[in-house]
């Protein structure tokens, strides 16, 4: 019963995290959301195996420990990346048009040089 609550809570947090990760514009918010998700994950990892045979299992705890290390390093790295991005473009959001060339055709402009030959009906 308690484990069910934990699972539900974890799921809720995870959902919040996902939403934040995807929808927030600011990278900082995204990273916070990411950490939220990680917390939910760790919670789940601890809770779910335990609920199987009643007593704590060392393995998931070891896993979570490792996970936390990874989470910390990932977050740190992402923050560093964010800072560099911020320095480059003056704001800490992901540039919506990553590749202007990809969207070059959006305006109906023909970019390929072979266009003349190719389009002849």
């Amino acid at each position: 019963m308690t484990s069910a609550i934990f699972v539900l809570v974890a799921a809720a947090i995870f959902g919040l995290g996902v939403h934040g990760l995807l929808v927030s514009a600011h990278i900082m918010r995204k990273l916070l959301a990411l950490n939220l998700m990680l917390s939910a994950l760790f919670l789940l990892l601890i809770v779910v195996p335990a609920s199987i045979d009643g007593h704590p299992d060392p393995v998931p705890q070891a896993l979570v420990l490792t996970g936390i290390v990874i989470a910390v390093s990932t977050t740190a790295f992402a923050l560093a990346l964010m800072v560099r991005l911020f320095r480059k473009q003056g704001h800490a959001t992901i540039h919506p048009d990553l590749d202007p060339a990809l969207l070059g055709r959006k305006h109906g402009r023909r970019t390929a040089p072979e266009a003349e030959g190719e389009r002849a009906p």
Binding site: V18, L21, L22, V23, I94, P96, L98, L102, L103, R105, K106, R119, P121
Partner: protein, 551 residues
Amino acid sequence: MSALAVNLLPVLAPLVAAALLAFRGTPRALAMTVAPWLPPLLALPLLLGNSEEVAGLPFVLLDLRLGADPVAAPLTVLCAVAWGLAGWFAATRVHRDRVLFWSGWLVSLAGISLALLAQDVAGFYAGYATLSLASWLLIIHARSDEAWRAGRVYLVMALLGEMAAFAGIAAIVSQAGNVALSELAGSIDLGSGWSWLILAGFGVKMGIVPLHLWLPLAHPVAPVPASAILSGVIVKAGLLGWLRLVPPGSDGADTVGPVLLLLGIGTAFAGVLLGLAQRRIKVVLAYSTISQMGLVLSVYAAMLMAPERAAALLPWLGVMVLHHGLNKASLFLACGCAPGRSRLRGLLVAIPALAISAAPLTTGMLAKTGLKAAFHDAGLAQGWTLVLSLTSTATALLLWHFWRLVRTERGYKTAHPAWLAMVLAGLVVPWAWAVGHGLELHLAAGLWPATWPLAIAALVVGLKSALMPGWTLGLPAGDLVVWLERFFGAANMRVARVAEASLGSLPNLYPVHVRMTRALLWTERKITSLPVAGFLILALGGLLWLVTLLF
């Protein structure tokens, strides 16, 4: 000289000369000097060769065999004499486009030589096809609109004919391979369909009605010596084709005999009737040739109907061939010599004309004797002989028409000795041939049958000028051609349209391509945005999970 050399020389010499024409300067001049005198080379195989001996060239074409045999002999003689004399005429009278003329002349000569001498099917066909195509050059020599039209009609018909013949030949070859011509009779079953194809194919060259359409167009436009050989010699290559490929005695050939006989007689009359409606002398002569070829056809038909007598009739056929060839050639040569200018020239026109009308004691009478012999041998009723005599009447009428037209030809052209020689040859050679082959001439018995048809003709002429002096027929030269041209012109357009619309290539997918491109770029733009991407990840996971749940 070896048999091979003797047989090859007439074929190769013109080809070498034709090749020399390509080199400007001396070689070309040399070729033109030599060219007129090459046809007599054809006499070599006849004179020097043994008629039984066949010279083989196993590597050439499909095992080429050459030799002079009795079937081709009359035409060989005709070719040597008439083509040679016409060449003499041409040597001095053809001034325009000489390279074109002589190349056509020489290649045609090589072709007919090969056709005459070849003793295997492929060799014969090779010669014949060369002849057909090369004589086109002679027809279009003038390059006037008329010449082009005649050339076109000729080419279409010649090719059609050749292909029909080719189909028949294919039937032969499919059974026996490239068989020797001498082994053809009796060894091949030419179910009537195939023999008809061969007959029709070569019939085009002969100008048998209704395959004659090219003839009245082509003969008038060709230069005079070319018309002479076209009408005198080349048309008879068709006869050679019949004799070679559907020899009397072939299985299935006897069934076609009677039909051919009717066709022959029909052609004889139709040629005359159509010719009477013409106003140009060379056209009239062309129709006369058609009519005469009808007679030749009827002899051939008789040979088919009496295969056992065929060998005996062959010399008679030779007489006919020589008689018509030489006389018709001299009439054509006459067209180039202002025949209306003097009495002597009138006489030189009248002799061959009378001969062709089968006047008494002429070679024509001799030929008619042969015809009657043939009809007799074929077991035909007496009525046929009467019909035969009536063809003489008809021919006489046509030549009377010709005579009247000829009298108006009074240009300033000089007479040419070759003309005279041709007329003389027409007088002498057939007789010599007949005597040489020991034919029974029946001179006395033939006099009256030769005379009365002419009398009737004279009567008709008299009546006509008395009763309706101004009345003339008028038909375009080549009669049916005009309608056919119109019909095929329209059909050609239709075929072209069908061809154009038919399955040119795969359909153009351009619009689909554009739409797909746009859709794809739009999608890619959409799913590159992070929220959509994340949603996709979750959705895909959800979908996969759903699938596992359901199944």
